[in-house]
């Protein structure tokens, strides 16, 4: 059959290249793409030429210049002789810190409050409702101000600090904690902690396989705790306690030594985690309610106790509903952390878009970089949460 099928011939003979719907779709898409490309080209080149005409500096060479200003809190060594590029890193780390703390606490608060809603105790279930409705319905900025200006600013001054056993101090400048400093040999203890954690993970795997094979359950929680405590303790005793406490001491104007947690971080973490926690509590409530009551009854009828029902029947099914909601709450939390600027917590937005932008005047580059960072952080959260989502989603065979 060397002659091609008939219908192709007719379609070829009937119309030109442009009458083919497939070709036309391609051409339109190509033209639209060109148009869009041209549009952005015009915007960008226009901005560049306008900025040049007005004598506004552009480019990212400023990142290598000396910053000349100090930052309240930094997780890496930083002083005013470092570069603008370093201020970006300092701000980024502070943003990540408050986001991680916020997400961690918000999840705990959310799950406790969400589950408390179902408590048979009237007081507990009603307090959970009051908590959720209060903190969900007050603007976050107001809550940030509340914690910072109303609560933390009314703490006593450094000299009249509240203290617990002359080791913990709380005053208007922040929370001062003793710092556990490692001496020679402390590495062994850190190693012991690491080994303990690895063996606990191995224990969990082993217990699961054991249960699938024989149906016997090992007391995993108790064993894990025992390993976690005994192993490092043993190492500590063998090495002759290679640690000492560094206590904060009032020297001059402030407490020195130990670990300082600045009030800006406390206020922002509290506000973010309570606000987001209230939303997560609602998500948890929705998730638990989505599991039909019949499931609980069925579980009871095969002899499971309340703890098992929660762990094996309700939570796994509820997680399918909760997980996508958690994703967006976490993302909101990261974005909301930019409210740091209202109380001067040195996050990426305050330091980089605030001070650095102002000192260099390079608004476009700095705003673009910052947008890219928040985009990347949220994409990362999204990817992680999607993996988690896959893990908890219904596996159909």
């Amino acid at each position: 059959m060397s002659v091609p099928p008939n219908y192709i011939q007719t379609s070829k003979s009937r119309g030109s290249f442009f009458n083919n719907p497939a070709n036309r779709a391609l051409i339109y898409q190509f033209l639209l793409l060109m148009g869009l490309g041209y549009f952005f080209y015009i915007i960008i080149s226009n901005t560049m030429s306008n900025m040049e005409a007005r004598g506004i500096k552009s480019g990212i060479s400023f990142l290598g210049e000396t910053a000349g200003f100090d930052i309240l809190m930094s997780l890496i060594p930083y002083d005013s002789t470092h570069t603008y590029g370093k201020t970006f890193i300092v701000g980024l780390l502070n943003t990540l810190l408050v986001s991680v703390i916020g997400i961690f606490l918000a999840t705990i608060i959310g799950f406790i409050m969400g589950v408390a809603h179902f408590s048979r105790n009237w007081l507990i279930s009603k307090s959970s409702t009051v908590f959720i409705e209060t903190f969900r319905n007050i603007p976050l900025l107001l809550q940030v101000f509340f914690w910072y200006f109303a609560v933390l600013s009314s703490l006593p001054s450094a000299r009249q600090s509240l203290s617990i056993g002359e080791a913990f101090f709380l005053n208007v400048r922040g929370l001062y904690l003793p710092h556990l400093a490692g001496d020679e040999g402390s590495v062994v203890v850190y190693g012991a902690v690491f080994i303990a954690i690895t063996s606990i993970i191995a224990l969990h795997r082993f217990a699961k396989i054991q249960q699938e094979k024989t149906g016997k359950q090992l007391p995993v929680l108790r064993l894990s705790l025992a390993i976690l405590i005994v192993l490092p303790l043993f190492a500590t005793l063998i090495m002759g306690t290679p640690f000492h406490w560094e206590l904060p001491v009032l020297k001059g104007f402030n407490y020195q030594g130990g670990t300082t947690i600045i009030p800006e971080l406390i206020a922002l973490s509290l506000a973010l985690s309570i606000y987001t926690g209230a939303f997560i509590a609602e998500a948890v409530r929705a998730g638990v309610q989505s599991v039909p009551h019949g499931q609980t009854e069925a579980a009871r009828s095969i002899g499971m106790n309340e703890k098992q029902i929660m762990k094996l029947i309700i939570v796994p099914q509820a997680m399918r509903v909760i997980s996508p909601l958690l994703n967006s709450e976490y993302q909101s939390l990261v974005k909301n952390s930019t409210l740091a600027t209202a109380i001067g917590y040195p996050d990426l937005f305050t330091v980089f878009v605030g001070t650095t932008l102002n000192q260099t005047g390079q608004a476009i580059e700095i705003v673009f970089m910052t947008m890219a960072v928040y985009f990347a952080i949220n994409m990362f959260i999204s990817v992680l949460m999607n993996l988690f989502d896959k893990k908890v989603s219904l596996i159909t065979r």
């Binding site: 004598g55 309240l72 001059g252 001067g344 605030g354 001070t355 000192q359």
Partner: protein, 338 residues
């Protein structure tokens, strides 16, 4: 096909409009019949709004002076309160015609922001405000202390320089607005508040217990404050520059809001030149001959403005100091107006 052409037309039109150059600020201000002026969010003596919504202050008088010179009416100003962080962007983007917001003239700002400083209306310097009960007499005793400071200011750089130079350590707590900085200081979040010295006096008045705080004697940096305009509009730049100079020259020539009317007809040649009855100084700026006369009668000369806003006629009671005329122990000096 029609859709495609429309899209193309929109793109081309958009490109064309965005390419048109900005009209001159002078024509722009004249056609809208008001001046848009960027000021602070509230700083006693410089730019402050009273209960009735009227703005006053040394910075505000620059705006009023420009409005009087250009539009003949000092009240034709719309004020736009800006934080330190917002101010330059507002000017660059054309949201305001002039920025008069206690802004320090630095080389970096002048050369890299696409802006021009049109003169100095107040010579200031960074100072320190501390609580009396701290017992500190000099800034050199502040090793290890915490500072409250406003974000986006040249003070942030000055204070870092100072402590680095003296090999002392300090903590910096930055706030967005001047008011937040003050409440941070009041709550004890920091040991001292640092800012331009003129602002410290203004902030001190706002404290619950003004007598409980003192301004330390040290002045650690040069902070010449003045109005700013966009670069590339020389006609407008000249107008703002000479409005500032006219106010200083007015004091030097002895022209006040009270005697301007008489001097206009019967003054000395220099006074008459300033007030527009001799020569054509106004025309050369593209303004009416009575431009400076309007400034003198509606705003007053520099001395009047100073005493009314920050000097003896105000709660701040700041002395003229280096802000006096050059022949009076200060460094104010207007170029020749002829």
């Amino acid at each position: 096909m029609k859709f495609k052409f429309t899209l193309a037309a929109v793109i081309v039109a958009g490109a064309a409009t965005s390419l048109t150059v900005q009209a001159g600020t002078l024509e722009d201000v004249k056609s809208k019949d008001y001046l848009s002026c960027g000021v602070s969010t509230g700083l006693a003596g410089f730019s402050q709004k009273d209960e009735k919504g009227n703005w006053s202050g040394l910075d505000v008088d620059v705006c009023r002076g420009v409005a009087a010179a250009v539009l003949g009416d000092a009240s034709k100003v719309k004020y736009k309160p800006l934080t330190a962080k917002e101010r330059f962007t507002a000017l660059q983007s054309g949201e305001i015609d002039i920025l008069s917001r206690n802004t320090t003239w630095t080389q970096t700002r002048d050369t890299s922001l696409g802006l021009n400083f049109a003169g100095t209306i107040y010579y200031d310097g960074t100072g320190f405000l501390v609580r009396k009960k701290l017992g500190v007499k000099s800034a050199t005793e502040l090793d290890g202390a915490a500072a409250c400071i406003q974000a986006g200011t040249s003070t942030e750089l000055a204070i870092s320089d100072y402590f680095r130079d003296k090999k002392m350590s300090f903590k910096v707590v930055t706030f967005d607005t001047s008011d937040q900085t003050r409440s941070g200081f009041e709550s004890g979040r920091c040991d001292f508040l640092t800012s331009d010295q003129s602002q410290l006096y203004a902030l001190r008045i706002g404290l619950k217990d003004p007598a409980g705080a003192i301004v330390l004697p040290e002045v650690i940096s040069k902070e010449p404050l003045g109005p700013v305009v966009r670069q590339g509009d020389d006609a407008w730049f000249n107008i703002v520059k000479w409005v500032v100079n006219a106010s200083i020259e007015g004091e030097f020539q002895g022209v006040t809001s009270a005697n301007a009317k008489t001097l206009r007809a019967s003054g000395k040649p220099g006074q008459k030149r300033l007030l527009g009855t001799e020569g054509d100084l106004g025309m050369k700026l593209g303004l009416s001959p009575d431009w400076a006369y309007n400034i003198m009668t509606q705003v007053g000369n520099y001395a009047e403005s100073f005493e009314r806003n920050v000097g003896q006629g105000s709660p701040l009671k700041i002395k003229r100091g280096i802000n006096a005329q050059w022949n009076n122990g200060g460094i104010l000096y207007s170029p020749a107006m002829r």
